[in-house]
């Protein structure tokens, strides 16, 4: 008896469908609230080749919804732990872990070997990056996203009966301004919601691979956990969308998705009162990057003094580094530069510099 017997006896699926699942290659980006349930069902269904991308580590506050992990995994990379747990669930399939952040530098080659991508990310930077990349590579993108008690699910880049396929930019052409949309950390989420939405995404993947049913192509579905209301809205590809997407690999790799999502300027700058709050934490270091002759000296805060041209990676000993200069200009450009070079650390700049304190 095959472990897949109960799904093979579905006449819509059959052995043919099971063979299609065995040969399918699916990349899951984000092994969090959406990725965990999606992965569990894709693995259990026997999808033959699955990649898992996530650069984050397991935290205690993840466990109520990220059901692949336990307390002993805290601090471990999610992609690696997920791979280990899922390999035990189904040793018959191939699992690859990518414990790295998807960036324009690595995304093209990571995505290329896969047939389709499941978006389980938690930020607009990666969502728009994935949307554009999947459009350029013409790969189906199975989208899922949540906000408090509601979810959205859709399938992009999947032509239906010759109708051109819509993508995320046909709904939301450009990213919303940074900070205008809630995330789970700020707004809260009940664990079962991403469980439902991630499972819906897994179902779409299985439908697309085996050609059964009607996937959510050219449509977006909303689901409300509190009311059980769901609504399917049709999407039409818009002529203008193509102009918003980089035209080829080279243009894609030069696109700064962080900037498009409004992350610099607004969030790299902090004011004097925020500086006080940051310096109460022990994971923060303050660096005065002014030339040695510049005055007044900074006496109100513990800090290091290193000029901007001499800074090296080894100077940044804590996860958050705050730069300060005379007027806030040099520190902001330094924070931008290092954010690009070392995306895993947080670099900030004090608005208005020493003169504004």
């Amino acid at each position: 008896m095959s472990r897949y017997h109960r799904q093979i006896i579905l006449k819509e699926l059959g052995q043919t469908g099971q063979n299609q699942l065995t040969h399918a290659k699916v990349l899951v980006v984000g092994a969090g609230g959406l990725g965990c349930p999606a992965l569990l069902y894709l693995v259990a269904a026997g999808v033959g080749h699955i990649g898992i991308v996530d650069d984050d580590v397991v935290a205690l506050s993840n466990l109520h919804r990220q059901v692949l992990y336990g307390p002993e995994d805290i601090g471990q990379p999610k992609a690696t732990v997920a791979r280990r747990v899922l390999s035990a669930q189904n040793p018959e399939i191939q699992l690859v872990a990518y414990p790295t952040r998807l960036t324009t530098a690595n995304a093209w080659d990571i995505v290329a070997p896969y047939d389709m991508v499941l978006d389980g990310t938690d930020n607009f930077t990666t969502r728009y990056l994935l949307n554009d990349l999947c459009f350029l590579q013409q790969k189906p993108l199975i989208f899922g996203a949540i906000s408090q008690f509601e979810g959205q699910v859709s399938v992009f880049n999947l032509p239906q009966n010759g109708i051109t396929a819509a993508n995320y930019r046909d709904i939301f052409p450009t990213p919303p301004a940074e900070g205008t949309v809630h995330n789970c950390a700020e707004a809260g989420v009940i664990g079962v919601l991403p469980g439902i939405v991630g499972s819906l995404q897994a179902a779409e993947v299985i439908k697309i691979i085996t050609g059964i049913g009607r996937p959510l192509a050219n449509a977006i579905m909303t689901y409300n956990l509190l009311t059980n209301n769901s609504l399917k809205l049709k999407i039409h590809p818009r002529a203008e969308t193509i102009r918003l997407i980089p035209k080829d690999r080279a243009a894609f790799e030069q696109t700064n998705y962080q900037l498009l999502c409004g992350i610099p300027e607004k969030t790299l700058e902090i004011g004097g009162s925020e500086l006080h709050q940051y310096l109460h934490r022990d994971d923060v270091q303050l660096i005065d990057i002014r030339e040695p002759h510049e005055t007044p000296d900074l006496t109100a805060f513990p800090h290091q003094r290193m000029t901007m041209n001499t800074l090296t990676e080894s100077d940044f000993t804590r996860p958050t580094v705050i730069f300060i200069c005379q007027s806030g200009k040099r520190s902001l450009s330094t924070a931008h530069e290092w954010s690009e070079n070392l995306p895993d650390k947080q670099f900030l700049s004090v608005r208005g510099g020493v003169l504004a304190l």
């Binding site: 984000g30 607009f124 709904i171 809630h182 049709k234």
Partner: protein
Amino acid sequence: MALKILVFGQLTEITQTSELEWETVEQVGALRQQLLQRFPEMAHISVAIAVNQTLADDQTAIPANGEIALLPPFSGG
């Protein structure tokens, strides 16, 4: 004739309800302007507008008794 407007996600924090009644208006662009007048905070959030379960442009006509949906982007995962 009145329109029914379904409101999703964090937009309900602005409208304080998930369903609005609205006076008939001819086009999506005009409706968007009226919504911004009544709910100025909507200016800070991207809103996709659907008419009778189809995503619409500002030029899309709104039939009498049409059902409108206001959809914000979700990022959580």
